[in-house]
């Protein structure tokens, strides 16, 4: 095959593979039939409407939102100072710390989830919501450190010294000249963390309990019992939410610079 044909074909297949499922889900969610199927049978908005009436969806959506926002915020509270210290000071074991911080990316979530359940929740009887929150914080932390570090590395450190010589304290210099200049990096980290946490399945799978379930897990168990297109409708809604967030982020922050 000539590259003139071959290259566009590969491109088409890759794009189709990546976003094809999205179109299938959207189509399936608009189905008029009773079961999840593709191609859809007829057209209706009833499944989209049903999503909002399922109580467990509402509850788990709230939990997922809370985890995504709270966990990411907590990860940033830890991650911003950590990134600052790692990028500005030559710390003993600095590289080791950086590696440890990025471990949750490397270790499969299923292992993290099982470990947390088996060695934290079960023996110590920890509150499952709390452990879920800590787990999500830890999962998001690597992204926070990586993205914030990237924007810190683009910022010259002498502006802090300049601020100090103009009368600012060290801490004041951080808040007056460092924070404003890494703000978009922090926002980018927040969005990345939010999406990561919100879509997280393997860890959350183990950390579910009575009344405590994240939305993806709830969808999973819903599907085990009820095989109707409302899960597709919910998926489509969530996909639109993610697209919206990333679109806004790209538009206002140049998100792609950080990821």
């Amino acid at each position: 095959m000539k590259p003139r044909v071959f290259t566009p074909l590969v491109l088409f297949l890759v794009i189709g593979f990546l976003i094809g499922p999205f179109f299938i889900i959207v189509a399936a969610s608009l189905s008029g039939g009773e079961t999840l199927a593709f191609p859809p049978q007829g057209f209706s908005l009833q499944w989209v409407a049903k999503v909002f009436t399922v109580e467990s969806f509402r509850e788990s959506f709230a939990i997922s939102m809370l985890l995504a926002i709270g966990g990411t915020a907590a990860a940033l509270v830890l991650g911003v100072p950590a990134s600052y210290a790692l990028s500005r000071y030559k710390l003993p074991f600095g590289e080791t710390v950086r590696t440890i911080v990025s471990l949750p990316i490397i270790v499969p979530g299923i292992i993290v989830g099982l470990a947390l359940l088996r060695y934290i929740v079960v023996p110590f009887g920890f509150n499952i919501t709390l452990v879920l929150f800590l787990a999500h914080t830890a999962l998001v932390l690597p992204y926070a450190v990586r993205v914030v570090s990237a924007s810190l590395n683009n910022l010259r450190s002498d502006i802090e010294e300049a601020a100090v010589l103009l009368g600012s304290s060290r801490a004041g210099a951080f808040f007056r000249v460092v924070m404003p200049n890494i703000r978009s990096g922090i926002l980018a980290a927040f969005i990345l963390g939010f999406v990561t946490s919100f879509n997280q399945v393997p860890v959350s799978l183990f950390l579910s309990g009575p009344g405590v379930r994240t939305l993806p897990i709830d969808m999973l168990s819903y599907m085990e019992i009820t095989y109707d297109p409302s899960v597709a409708a919910l998926s489509a809604l969530l996909a639109f939410m993610s697209i919206g967030i990333v679109f806004l982020a790209e538009r206002f922050l140049g998100f792609s610079r950080y990821v």
Binding site: L155, I159, E161, A163, L165, L166, G167, S168, R176, N181
Partner: protein, 342 residues
């Protein structure tokens, strides 16, 4: 310590961890002086400057400014300004807000800040740019913003790190004039760090030449240029023929050579610029090895029993052929007498 000392460094030792960067440095600077710290990279000039600013605390020794011991005073309370080599402007703030930064921290009334910033920007010719962000300015303009930002704070000492090195030739001249004007108008004591002898010679009232964490020589630009006292300084300012002296004799080539005229006993070496070498007559013999024409002068490389000698002659004189034998002299009365030869 003379009463005139405004800023003095006393037995100052500076270290990064176990690495001593500056050792037992003594220096006193008068009010309103424009001093250059000159030396190759790694000589301790920037380190010394940073310790004056308070960005590095000394391992031992003291820094006194305007009668007060500021050795342990933190950098934000020293009234010392610093114009960074990279300018270090705050990228998120406008030019106006950059200049106003320190004044706002002082909690001055808004109208006073406004008038000081306006005056400051006007004095560096950037009034029109007050609403711009630093990223929208050229390097030269950014530097002037940095200068204004430091100057509105009315510092007792203004430090400048390589102020001319990032500028092109035309801007260099402009900035040099600018710095001299600011210094003259405000009478601020200025210290700038440079590795460029031309910069130091043209701008400073006094030059402090540093090497390996110690002062090699202090003097006016004329002193440094014409009367270097150490081998390093002589070499740095263009004395290309440098010889050690031992027991009143020149130590070179095949052995000690008698010199015409006597030398003070502390003479450790003698140095001549190429143009100080007399060609065509004298007690020494050499062979012309090479010649290069540079417009107004011709430079010759001579093979001599003393070693290689560089000489220079007016280009209006007839060129000397490569390979010809030539008599020459190294006149002792013209030579720079070096007290330190190491």
């Amino acid at each position: 310590m003379s009463d005139a000392a405004f800023l003095s460094l006393e037995k100052l030792t500076l270290a990064y961890g176990d690495t001593v960067a500056v050792k037992d440095l003594d220096l006193s600077i008068r009010k309103g002086e424009l001093v250059a710290f000159l030396g190759p990279s790694g000589c301790g000039k920037t380190t010394t400057m940073r310790s004056i600013a308070g960005l590095l605390s000394p391992a031992s020794g003291a820094i006194r400014l305007d009668g007060a011991d500021i050795t342990r005073v933190s950098a934000n309370k020293r009234s010392v300004g610093l114009v960074f080599q990279s300018y270090a402007l705050f990228p998120h703030l406008t030019v106006f807000e950059n200049v106003a930064f320190g004044l706002r921290l002082k909690k001055l009334p808004a109208n006073e800040i406004e008038s000081k910033v306006t005056t400051g920007l006007k004095s560096v010719g950037l009034s029109k740019f007050s609403a711009r962000k630093p990223g929208e300015l050229s390097g030269g303009q950014q530097q002037r913003v940095a200068l204004a930002r430091s100057m509105v704070m009315e510092p007792k000492v203004l430090l400048l790190d390589e102020p001319l090195s990032n500028l092109d030739a035309r801007l260099r001249l402009e900035m040099r004039t600018e710095l001299q004007r600011v210094q003259k108008e405000t009478g601020v004591t200025m210290i700038f760090v440079t590795h460029d002898q031309g910069e130091a010679l043209s701008l400073a009232d006094r030059i402090v030449v540093m090497l390996n964490g110690a002062i090699e020589q202090i003097g006016t630009p004329e002193d440094i240029y014409n009367r270097p006292t150490s081998r390093f300084v002589a070499d740095f300012v263009g004395f290309e023929n440098i010889f050690a002296v031992e027991g009143g004799k020149l130590k070179a080539g095949n052995g000690p050579l008698e010199l015409s005229g006597s030398l003070p006993p502390d003479t450790a070496g003698l140095a001549w610029r190429p143009r100080m070498v007399t060609l065509g007559s004298g007690p020494f013999q050499g062979t012309v090895r090479g010649a290069s024409f540079s417009g107004s002068t011709r430079e010759y490389l001579l093979d001599t029993p003393l070693g290689a000698i560089k000489a220079e002659e007016d280009a209006a004189l007839a060129a000397r052929e490569t390979g010809t034998a030539i008599a020459f002299d190294l006149p002792v009365d013209k030579a720079a007498r070096l007290k330190k030869f190491g």
